[in-house]
């Protein structure tokens, strides 16, 4: 048995392999195992229906947020259309499930692949555009996809939406939140594992090179455009996969939730979580979903205590106000996001009580 690894007092990496390790110490690996154990064996049994619903939503959104972080945080291509891609995935799964009666296990990855294709189409402008021009192009993509979802009535049923039959895997009915929890989080674990490892491969390092300096990347022999398209495809695949899970979880979907606001929420998640950090995407998702749940509870509560003041209309917008404020405060005071906060907290405990 090899020796256990602990934190050295500095950076003593001697090989590239050492630099690329996911777990710097055996302690990190252990805490990951404990985390997985808690997630799968404890959390579903100690939470009530409502908390479980929130956790499931966090799991679904986190998959899409990881995809967006691969695109924005690692490849440096800003996309304002992630919410629409999420919607494409949801609709693809819904249409496959109802019109082609695909089973769950085929419909979800197929929806991811269809969305990856759509994402590649809307990533095409990245051949010529970068920075804010690309950002505006994806904004246009968002509006065009929204329009198609509403207007292509023969396929998407327009504003009425589609109802999806309950999914089954190997004869197990997925209508139950607790069963679906396992489906979501097994998918989440696989997708997060893939993302973390993708960054360590040549593709991931090419993405980072393109983000840092695309001219230098081209000079080093990275074909920039195919890699940008690949990044769009991967990120949309994550969005579509998450959207498909969302469609099955929600049972019926309409075009309404997949608007620009959702795209903005996704970007807010990865900015608040930390750009270029996979755990950061998850932290950000937890933060945003919890924040909007808490805010809607507060507005509901305030509406109940002051119904006579006509509070119903006047208090609800405060939710948006706080949401916007949270984004601004994070960008100004902690631009590297919650991942950085977490790193600072950890490193102050690292050599405790003998820290320097």
């Amino acid at each position: 048995m090899r020796k256990l690894q602990f934190h050295p007092c500095g950076n003593f990496n001697e090989t590239y392999e050492r630099e690329l390790t996911i777990f710097e110490t055996d302690f990190g690996r252990l805490s990951m195992l404990i985390g997985i154990f808690l997630l799968f064996a404890v959390i579903p049994f100690i939470t009530n229906e409502y908390i479980l619903y929130i956790i499931n939503i966090i799991g679904i959104y986190a998959i899409a947020a990881i995809g967006l972080n691969l695109l924005i945080g690692y490849t440096g291509q800003i996309s304002l259309g992630h919410g629409a891609f999420f919607g494409v995935g949801a609709y693809a799964a819904a249409i496959l499930a109802t019109k082609a009666s695909c089973p769950f296990l085929i419909a979800v990855p197929a929806a991811g692949l269809i969305t990856a294709l759509v994402g590649m189409i809307f990533g095409l402008p990245s051949a010529r555009l970068k920075h804010l021009y690309l950002c505006i192009a994806t904004l246009a993509g968002q509006f065009i996809i929204e329009y198609v979802l509403v207007q292509w009535e023969s396929l998407t049923e327009g504003a009425e939406g589609i109802s999806i039959p309950t999914a089954t895997i190997f004869g197990i009915d997925l209508g139950n939140d607790r069963v679906f929890f396992y489906v979501i989080f097994i998918c989440f674990a696989i997708m997060a594992w893939m993302a973390v490892n993708l960054i360590r491969t040549r593709y991931g390092r090419a993405f980072i090179a393109i983000r840092d300096n695309d001219q230098a990347a081209e000079g080093m022999g990275i074909p920039v455009f195919p890699y940008k398209l690949l990044s769009f495809a991967i990120s949309s695949f994550y969005a579509g996969f998450a959207g498909a899970l969302f469609a099955y979880y929600m049972i019926s979907i309409t075009p309404e939730p997949f608007n620009l606001w959702l795209s903005i929420e996704y970007i807010a998640m990865i900015i608040i979580g930390g750009l270029g950090s996979i755990p950061g995407s998850v932290f950000g998702t937890i933060f945003i979903v919890t924040l909007s749940e808490i805010l809607s509870h507060i507005t509901e509560y305030l509406m109940n205590i002051s119904p006579s003041m006509g509070g119903a209309i006047t208090i609800a917008p405060l939710r948006e106000f706080v949401f916007g404020l949270a984004i601004i405060l994070f960008i100004i005071f902690e631009p590297k996001g919650l991942a950085e906060v977490w790193r600072i907290v950890r490193s102050s405990f690292r050599l405790w009580p003998f820290s320097y």
Binding site: I136, A140, F143, L275, P317, R319, F321, G324, I327, I331
Partner: protein
């Protein structure tokens, strides 16, 4: 044929609104290269300020107009000082998300204070402004808008061409380090450009309010329509913003009138993608040549 002319007039007046809205946007972009997503909200704030001063406080119209412009001017200063200045030199996405956050915040605040209903100003325009042209009628508000817009365009033209502040702003837009080396106070120029842009926003917001009534959701939707307009015209060209606004306005009303009303809302964005693919710097934008 009457239908055609009516659509043409509607398109031109809508296009003029877009052009006015795009003006402030181009001004911010030109001097500080910030893509302002809070544009529609700034317009709405100006419009509501005018509403409060003219309809609620019952000030004379001209005083209310100038006070609303002055209020927006100082708001622009405040935004730059407290929100944008800490981000000078940060990554693009953070600046963009900051303006998005500002947009959400302002929108929430305005919905909180004014609600989501349509508000309208008291009637103050003289009837004589309405033009009749055969069977086609041009409402007085549009004529007034056109006049106000032209006056302001002229003023800004002179401001940029001859005033020292305007020359500083153009120099910063052209080459920031060189302007700094020649003693231009770059931060003050940024603050100034945000203030002036907020003023222009307020003006276009007021004009929109006079024509359509003010509704937070509608005005902020116009703020997003600015993107196709400025991309079509070129992100840093004022003349391009005006022409782009007219083209997009005409395109929208003609699509709405002859093809389908549903398509009307997305046609600017379809044009946007096409323009970006074939001529990314727009009709009059400055081409940054960069070869890889």
């Amino acid at each position: 044929m009457e239908f055609f002319f009516q659509i043409l007039i509607n398109g031109l007046s809508l296009g003029f609104l877009y052009a006015l809205a795009a003006l402030g946007f181009v001004m911010i972009f030109k001097s500080s290269s910030v893509l302002n997503f809070a544009h529609g909200e700034l317009m709405a704030i100006g419009a509501f300020l005018f509403l409060v001063l003219s309809a609620w406080a019952k000030l004379p119209i001209w005083l209310a107009f100038f006070l609303a412009l002055a209020g927006s001017f100082s708001l622009g200063f405040i935004i730059e000082r407290f929100f944008l200045r800490p981000l000078i030199g940060e990554a693009l996405i953070e600046v963009i998300m900051l303006t998005v956050g500002l947009a959400i915040m302002f929108k929430g605040l305005m919905l909180f204070v004014f609600g989501g209903d349509i508000h309208s100003y008291p009637e103050f325009l003289p009837q004589a402004l309405t033009l009749h042209w055969g069977a086609v009628e041009v409402p007085g508000v549009n004529v007034a808008t056109f006049i106000v817009g032209l006056v302001f365009l002229g003023l800004f033209g002179f401001f940029f061409k001859y005033s020292s502040q305007g020359i500083y702003m153009r120099s910063v837009a052209d080459n920031q380090p060189a302007a700094m080396a020649l003693g231009v106070h770059v931060r003050r120029v940024f603050a100034m450009s945000w203030a002036i842009a907020a003023l222009v926003c307020a003006m276009s917001g007021i004009v929109i309010g006079i024509i359509n009534g003010i509704n937070v959701h509608e005005v902020s939707a116009i703020g997003l329509k600015v993107f196709p307009v400025v991309i079509l015209g070129g992100l840093d060209s004022i003349g391009g913003a005006i022409l782009g606004g007219l083209i997009i306005g005409l395109l929208e009303t003609f699509t709405g009138g002859y093809i389908s009303t549903g398509l009307r809302e997305v046609v600017p964005y379809i044009v946007l993608i096409i323009i970006l693919m074939i001529k990314p710097y727009g009709l009059f934008g400055l081409v940054e040549i960069e070869r890889v």
